[in-house]
C-alpha cells in the first residue's frame, strides 16, 4: 500500500471521535504516546471542543480513519515554533500512514504557517518513529531521562527538532508560481 492511498484531512469532531478514541485506546498506540487506555469518546469530544489552538488531522484509507495527529503553534515568543504528536492504528502501521501525516504537518509548517522550528518528543526505544522523523530532517537535540511512565517503567524520550530558514529575504519569482 503506497502513500497515495492515504488521505489526510482535518478531523471532523462530529464523525471522527469514535475512530480517534478507538485508535488511541489501542495498547500499542498508548505505548508509543502519552495516552492511557480505556479513555471515553466523551473525553475526546470535550477536548476537541475546548482546545481551539490545536489542529487535529486524521489519516484515512478507503474511508476508514486509521491515524491521527495534533499540531499546535506555540505562540508569543515562540510564535515561530510548532509542536505535534501522532498515532497510527496498530493494524495499519508500517504502511506509510505516519509518513503521510508527517508530510501534512511539514506542509502546514513550511507552506502555510511559516514556522522556523518544528519539535516533538519520541520515546528513545521507538526506532521506527525516530527513523521516520530523521527522514524528514528532524535531528536529535537531547535525551529526557525518565520522561514518562510506560508499562511499569520510567522511560527516556528524545527531543527532536527540524529547523528551517526564514523566507522573508527570499526573492519570490512570479514566473515559478504553480498555483491555480
Amino acid at each position: 500500500m503506497s502513500n497515495s492511498d492515504v488521505i489526510i484531512r482535518a478531523l471532523d469532531p462530529t464523525t471522527d471521535v469514535e475512530a480517534w478514541t478507538r485508535i488511541h485506546n489501542q495498547r500499542q498506540v498508548a505505548f508509543g504516546t502519552l495516552r492511557i487506555p480505556f479513555e471515553s469518546p466523551d473525553f475526546w469530544s470535550r477536548r476537541f471542543e475546548a482546545d481551539t489552538t490545536t489542529r487535529a488531522l486524521v489519516a484515512e484509507i478507503d474511508g476508514r480513519v486509521v491515524g491521527g495527529a495534533g499540531f499546535e503553534v506555540r505562540g508569543r515568543r515562540a510564535h515561530h515554533v510548532g509542536a505535534f504528536g501522532m498515532g497510527v492504528e496498530v493494524e495499519y502501521q508500517g504502511r506509510g500512514v505516519g509518513s503521510a501525516l508527517l508530510a501534512a504537518i511539514v506542509d502546514l509548517a513550511d507552506n502555510w504557517y511559516n514556522l522556523r522550528r518544528l519539535e516533538l518528543e519520541v520515546f528513545a526505544e521507538n526506532a521506527a518513529g525516530i527513523a521516520l522523523y530523521r527522514k524528514f530532517g528532524f535531528e536529535v537535540e537531547g535525551v529526557y531521562r525518565k520522561y514518562a511512565y510506560r508499562e511499569g517503567a520510567f522511560v527516556d524520550a528524545l527531543a527532536m527538532a527540524r529547523l528551517r530558514d526564514d523566507p522573508w529575504h527570499t526573492q519570490h519569482d512570479e514566473k515559478d508560481s504553480t498555483h491555480e
Partner: protein
C-alpha cells in the same frame, strides 16, 4: 519553611498581580523568561492564581516582593514530573533569593508532591541561572535551537532536569 534573616517565601495571592506584572516586565527579567513586554496587569491574574496543578510562590525581602516561582505539576503518565520557572527582581539580585526560591520549589515538589523529575527550559545565554541550577543537581539534557525570540533574534534554550536518586 526556611527563613534567612530577610527572605521569606509564601504562596502567591491575587493581590500580588501588580508586583508580578512589574517584575516580569523588567528588561532583565524578560531577557530570560518567556513573556513579551507590555503585558497588562488585567491579563496576568491567572499568573498569581494558585490551582491544584499550578503552585505559585512569592519571595519577599524584608516584606517587599522580590521574586516569583511557579511549579507546574503534570498528570497521567507524567505525574512523576513537574516543570518550574523562577524570576527575581534585578534590584534584589545577588542576595540568595533565587536559591531560596529554588530550594522551596524542590522541597515542595519532591517532599510533598512526590515529584521525581524536575525540569525546566532556560536560555543558553542565561549563565547565572544555569550555574544556580547546576549547583542544585540539575543537568543539561538537550539544546533546543532557535527556541525563542529574544530582543529581535532567535536564541537557543537548554532543557535541564534533576532526577531523584
Amino acid at each position: 519553611m526556611t527563613e534567612t534573616s530577610a527572605i521569606s517565601i509564601r504562596a502567591a495571592e491575587p493581590e500580588d498581580v501588580a508586583a508580578y506584572t512589574r517584575i516580569h516586565g523588567l528588561p532583565e527579567v524578560m531577557q530570560e523568561t518567556s513573556q513579551p513586554p507590555y503585558m497588562a496587569v488585567s491579563e496576568q491574574a491567572r499568573r498569581v492564581t494558585n490551582t491544584p496543578n499550578e503552585r505559585i510562590l512569592v519571595a519577599e525581602w524584608d516584606g517587599t516582593i522580590a521574586g516569583f516561582a511557579s511549579l507546574t505539576l503534570y498528570a497521567g503518565r507524567r505525574a512523576h514530573a513537574a516543570s518550574f520557572g523562577i524570576a527575581v527582581d534585578p534590584e534584589f539580585a545577588g542576595r540568595g533569593i533565587g536559591s531560596e526560591l529554588l530550594s522551596a520549589i524542590i522541597d515542595l515538589g519532591e517532599q510533598w508532591y512526590g515529584i521525581k523529575r524536575l525540569e525546566l527550559k532556560v536560555l543558553v545565554e542565561n549563565e547565572r541561572a544555569i550555574r544556580l541550577y547546576k549547583r542544585f543537581g540539575f543537568e543539561i539534557e538537550a539544546t533546543h535551537r532557535q527556541y525563542a525570540q529574544r530582543a529581535g533574534r532567535y536564541v537557543d534554550a537548554y532543557t535541564m532536569a534533576r532526577l531523584s536518586p
